[in-house]
């Protein structure tokens, strides 16, 4: 148990390296087995996790460069626990459903490397280490999109890489500066996040640093107007790339807000609540409208991701336990739902080699199981109660209502617009009569696809009906973080804002 987290991080890496020795015929099952073990490890982590403890658990610490305060520092709390589980789960199901034959060995190894970086991003408590894995995660993704994508893949891959990479550069500057400030304040160097949590920063400095981190996170989420890499990346990426990108990589950005921006810069966070809330509203409405205009099924889901991430951001910046817990839960639910939706698009793409909705119609008759699973995911996506999608959306919006009802109402229009684009997608593709001859003979979901999708459906329902174990675990860590924010805030107004946001009282 002492090195549980290291094991979870490096197991896929080592297995990936060994994967070069595995012969081509058995690499697929090798990948699934490794991802399965990794998933079980993360489940084991959840089981061993003490849900009554709000702090970091399974902490591992050893100094790397003591003179500069860099260390190998890992830990997990309620906020990151489920994101780790989500990552390993997503990799597992996407490998099960994998449907690529050329160069599959390299692909699987790339995915395993990617898994390491994703898990590490959520588990690292040393900021330099975090940054290293944050950037490292781009490389396998670049490779996956650039090598296995469709026609315009190189442009998309490079755009994805450069855009996100450029965003993170400022974060590096911010990290170094913050380390320097810590040194100034205490006389010792440290890049460990829990140490940083203890420093109070002057307001001006907070503003600048908030900005530096913000750009990196905003591009990753992606927030309007930094979102345009996403449609290209999704449009060109192979199914497995889209699934992982939507399910996990985007969550790194929103996780960054919760883990860094909020507790490190509480005053700046409160200062920026409204501008960010407005961006979030724009994301919700704008992306939903653009999604409605799309002709390509995959692009609809790509833009819907932006729309949903808008609610995530809004929930985070509600700065109360309802909103933040809700937004983290929404990250999980969006991970599962959008992952499943991309996988479903992959299913139909494999059969027809097109994603244009105008090419389909009447699929419900030809592929009833496919239509059913799609329908369930669609309902989860529009946030129907008793599906996983409702819980996070409800809590996020409820949380922000305490801050501002108008913004909440505008963002809440996402539940209408979401229904508009999703139902019109469903109508165009699944309803009506079969018009194209080649659609008549399409095969319904095969065993492999069912094996990947059924667990997702089960999760969507199970966590929709009984989200409590997950919510409680998240909530306790979130509450601790809010207490920390309030204690750290230097402005009285910030403290007042936080207290107000977290208490019941008369609001309009």
């Amino acid at each position: 148990m002492d090195h549980m987290l290291s094991l979870i991080i490096f197991f896929p890496f080592v297995a990936g390296l060994l994967g070069f020795l595995v012969n081509k015929e058995s690499i697929r099952s090798y990948g699934v087995v490794i991802a399965g073990i990794e998933f079980l490890l993360s489940i084991g982590l959840w089981i061993a996790f003490d849900t009554a403890n709000a702090g970091y658990q399974f902490v591992e610490f050893s100094a790397l460069i003591p003179s500069f305060g860099m260390s190998y520092y890992l830990g997990v709390d309620g906020i990151s626990l489920f994101l780790v589980v989500l990552s390993t789960f997503t990799v597992l199901v996407s490998l099960i459903a994998l449907n690529i034959d050329n160069d599959v060995k390299n692909l699987i190894i790339a995915v395993l490397f990617l898994e390491m970086t994703m898990v590490a991003v959520f588990l690292c408590l040393d900021v330099i280490l975090f940054y290293a894995f944050w950037e490292l995660s781009l490389v396998p993704m670049l490779y996956i999109i650039g090598a296995w994508g469709s026609a315009n893949r190189v442009y998309a891959a490079i755009k994805f890489f450069l855009y996100t990479f450029a965003g993170s550069v400022l974060m590096l500057v911010g990290i170094l500066y913050l380390g320097y400030l810590y040194f100034q304040a205490t006389g010792v160097w440290s890049f460990s996040l829990p140490d940083w949590y203890l420093v109070q920063l002057p307001f001006n400095v907070q503003l600048w640093l908030f900005g530096a981190f913000f750009l990196a996170f905003a591009i990753k989420v992606p927030m309007f107007p930094f979102h345009t890499w996403l449609p290209y990346a999704h449009g060109q990426a192979p199914t497995i790339g889209s699934v992982i990108l939507a399910a996990v990589l985007l969550k790194m950005g929103s996780y960054g807000f919760v883990r860094f921006s909020l507790p490190l810069f509480p005053d700046a966070t409160v200062y920026f609540v409204y501008p960010i809330a407005i961006i979030a509203v724009i994301m919700v409405i704008y992306a939903a409208m653009v999604a409605y205009a799309q002709e390509d099924m995959k692009q609809v889901i790509a833009y819907s991701s932006i729309s949903h991430m808008g609610i995530v951001v809004l929930g985070t910046f509600a700065l109360n336990a309802e909103g933040i817990t809700g937004s983290i839960f929404l990250m999980l639910s969006h991970g599962i739902v959008s992952g499943a939706l991309f996988m479903l698009v992959g299913v139909i793409y494999d059969r027809r080699h097109t994603k244009l909705m105008s090419e389909f119609g009447g699929l419900a008759t030809v592929m009833p199981n496919f239509a059913t699973v799609y329908g369930i995911m669609l309902m989860a996506s529009v946030g129907l109660p008793l599906t996983i999608g409702f819980v996070g959306e409800f809590l996020s919006l409820a949380g922000f209502y305490r801050v501002d009802w108008l913004v909440t109402m505008l963002a809440g229009s996402g539940i209408i617009l979401g229904a508009v684009y999703m139902l019109s997608l469903y109508k165009k593709s699944f309803f009506g009569v079969v018009t194209k001859e080649e659609n008549r003979t399409l095969k319904d979901l095969n065993a492999k696809e069912l094996f990947a999708l059924v667990p997702m459906v089960a999760l969507v329902i199970a966590l929709g009906v009984y989200p409590k174990p997950v919510l409680d675990t998240i909530d306790i860590s979130v509450k601790k973080m809010i207490v920390l924010m309030e204690a750290k805030a230097i402005h009285v107004e910030t403290k007042a804002f936080l207290i107000n946001a977290n208490s019941i009282g008369e609001v309009q």
């Binding site: 755009k159 450069l162 409208m289 009802w405 309803f431």
Partner: protein, 618 residues
């Protein structure tokens, strides 16, 4: 007793899930029978609960926790009190009839099994809606019935109009749901709980303006489900669904959910009579507005749909004016006679091979006596003729309006009563009497006997349920605030007589016009008023022009112009500038020694200049 509660609630779910296993198989008769049996069990359990609540006390269980985060704590809790048990009995009773009926009606449909999956799932959602002990639980049912309605309206999804109508219904309901959701948030942040009991206790001490906002927001939710103006257009389009669906969902149960919400939140609306009055005004408006559209429509199902809309308006008048038990009473009797009317219409459609235009029917009495009688009973009940059910419940609503001194509301409802009687009997006359207008290739036949027997209970209830008025009042007002009409006796008699009078003259006029005279002359149909009415006041067209089309255009604009041409172009532009500047400055690195020396000189000059002019440290 808890046992019965769980049986009543979950039997439909079990039925639905079990039948779902066979959903994609060809028709299997046992799925229909089994689903009906499960609903029947639920109905029996509901009746047991009714007697329990009547003789003992309400029942309240908390099954398990659902959502908890921050201060929010929402359980799956269920309450069976005087209001919810009435709803349960009504819902399960009508559902059982509709299920049994559907075995006959959907007989030839290839998706027979799937139909019962959806129908039972609907009953489960509806029961969740009425039995929940908190607002979010209600919202589960609220959205659940929306989902089932979407699946059932679009049941014949190969038809474009059906899938369009399904989406319209879902989206329009979502618009209202946003209002409701906002209401829930407002309640939560002011009260700290979403349990009915806590909320109703707390609103008494809240700022009335705030309570007013809560009331309005919740009512916006109710407007969507109950299809009140301006969110009414989906209901008529929802008639694309199979007729049993229209009977169950779009007449008897789901659309009354909004009324149920107002009744359930009576303790909120009592505090804010102004909002209640607004609700009543809207209700009265819809009552006449919808009835007027029913006057000229020729579509069998749409006429009944408009009639439903109009009757929902009546219920909202009662609810808005604080006469909750009367609203609930009308809700119940209406469920009986309206579902009967729809199911009868289903028989007619079957006989006429899915013809819906009543102008192409006529004279069906000869071949379908039972259906004709049942539908006439339902129509008489709807028109409010003594001693049928509608007389007791609808008349009460008119008395309430008069009693409140809202004479113009009373007048609107009075006119509405006349219109109702007229269009109901216009339908009956055109369908069952007069001369045959269908081709000779059609040989209309009565529905199977078990279908008719299944309708009997509804027919009976439509005829006699009005007589339960006093025990109903005694029972429901244990929970709801009582409302008594205090009019002088002779005024009351005049009111009843005049309402009865206008209803009877409406019927008589319809019979005279369509029986004796053979209908209105054709030039009538060219008049302006007729066109406005038959085009539903051009409201669907207006929505299409003002909302749907512009939304599509705006979305297209957002994507093709803003997203691609502005946002993404800017990003690429930055990249291109960087790339181009690199490309241009690459020439500097020519490898030529004299070039290098020249650049070195430039560098030295710049550095010198900096050293001289820029002194940050000084």
């Amino acid at each position: 007793m808890e046992k019965y509660l769980y049986i009543a609630l979950f039997a439909p779910l079990v039925g639905s899930l079990f039948v779902a296993l066979f959903a994609s198989r060809p028709k299997m008769l046992f799925t229909g029978i089994l689903a009906s049996a499960f609903i029947g069990i639920s109905m029996i359990a509901s009746f047991v609960l009714l007697f329990h609540v009547y003789n003992h006390e309400p029942l309240h269980v908390e099954m398990m926790d659902w959502i908890s985060a921050g201060n929010i704590d929402i359980p799956f809790g269920f309450i069976v009190d005087e209001v919810s048990v009435i709803m349960m009995v009504t819902v399960t009773l009508v559902s059982t009839v509709v299920h049994v009926y559907s075995i006959g009606y959907m007989d030839h449909d290839k998706s027979f099994n799937r139909f019962f999956t959806y129908l039972s799932a609907f009953v489960f959602s509806m029961l969740i809606l009425v039995m929940s002990d908190n607002f979010v639980g209600l919202f589960i049912g609220w959205e659940g019935v929306g989902l089932c309605s979407w699946m059932l309206i679009g049941f014949w999804y190969h038809k474009h109009s059906a899938s369009w109508a399904a989406n319209e219904a879902f989206i329009m309901n979502r618009i209202a749901d946003l209002g409701m959701l906002m209401g829930l948030f407002l309640i939560y942040w002011n009260v700290g709980s979403l349990q009915y009991s806590d909320v109703f206790e707390a609103v008494k001490t809240l700022n009335p303006a705030l309570v007013g906002t809560i009331g309005v927001l919740l009512f916006i939710g109710a407007m969507g489900k109950s299809a009140q103006f301006p969110l009414h257009t989906w209901l008529a389009d929802a008639m694309e669904g199979p007729t049993p669906v229209s009977a169950l969902i779009h007449a008897a149960t789901m659309v009354t959910a909004g009324v149920y919400l107002v009744i359930r939140c009576g303790e909120i609306y009592t505090i804010i009579p102004q909002v209640g009055f607004g609700i009543a005004c809207l209700g009265a408006f819809v009552a006449v507005f919808a009835a007027s559209m029913a006057l000229v429509n020729n579509d069998l199902k749409r006429i009944i749909a408009y009639s439903t809309l109009s009757q929902l308006g009546y219920m909202f008048v009662a609810g808005g004016l604080g006469a909750y038990w009367i609203a609930l009473f009308h809700l119940m009797t209406h469920a009986f006679f309206k579902s009967l009317l729809f199911l009868g219409a289903g028989n007619v459609m079957h006989a006429m091979h899915d013809e819906l235009n009543i102008k192409k029917m006529g004279g069906l009495y000869g071949s379908m006596k039972a259906t004709a009688i049942l539908m006439s009973v339902a129509s008489v009940a709807l028109a409010g003729i003594y001693p049928f059910a509608g007389f007791f419940s609808k008349d009460k609503i008119l008395e309430v309006a008069f009693n409140e001194g809202a004479y113009f509301l009373w007048f609107a409802l009075f006119i509405g009563a006349g219109l109702t009687a007229f269009y109901s009997f216009r339908l009956v006359m055109l369908v069952f009497f007069g001369e045959k207008k269908y081709g000779h290739e059609l040989h209309p036949h009565e529905a199977q006997p078990f279908v008719i027997y299944a309708l009997m209970p509804l027919g009976l209830l439509a005829a006699i349920s009005g007589f339960f008025e006093h025990s109903f009042r005694e029972f429901t007002t244990r929970l709801l605030s009582d409302y008594g009409v205090h009019l002088e006796h002779h005024i009351e008699v005049i009111l009843i007589a005049s309402t009865l009078g206008i209803a009877i003259s409406g019927i008589a006029f319809a019979i005279y016009m369509y029986g004796k005279r053979g209908g209105f002359s054709a030039c009538w149909e060219k008049s302006f008023g007729y066109k406005v009415l038959s085009n539903q006041y051009y409201i669907p067209k207006l929505y299409e022009m003002v909302i749907i089309k512009p939304f599509g255009v705006a979305s297209e604009f957002m994507w093709k112009k803003i997203d691609v041409k502005i946002v993404d172009f800017t990003v690429d532009l930055i990249a291109r500038v960087l790339y181009a500047s690199g490309e241009k400055s690459r020439k500097m690195q020519s490898g030529n020694l004299s070039d290098m020396l020249r650049w070195m000189i430039v560098g030295i000059v710049i550095l010198l200049a900096l050293a001289i002019f820029y002194r940050p440290m000084v």
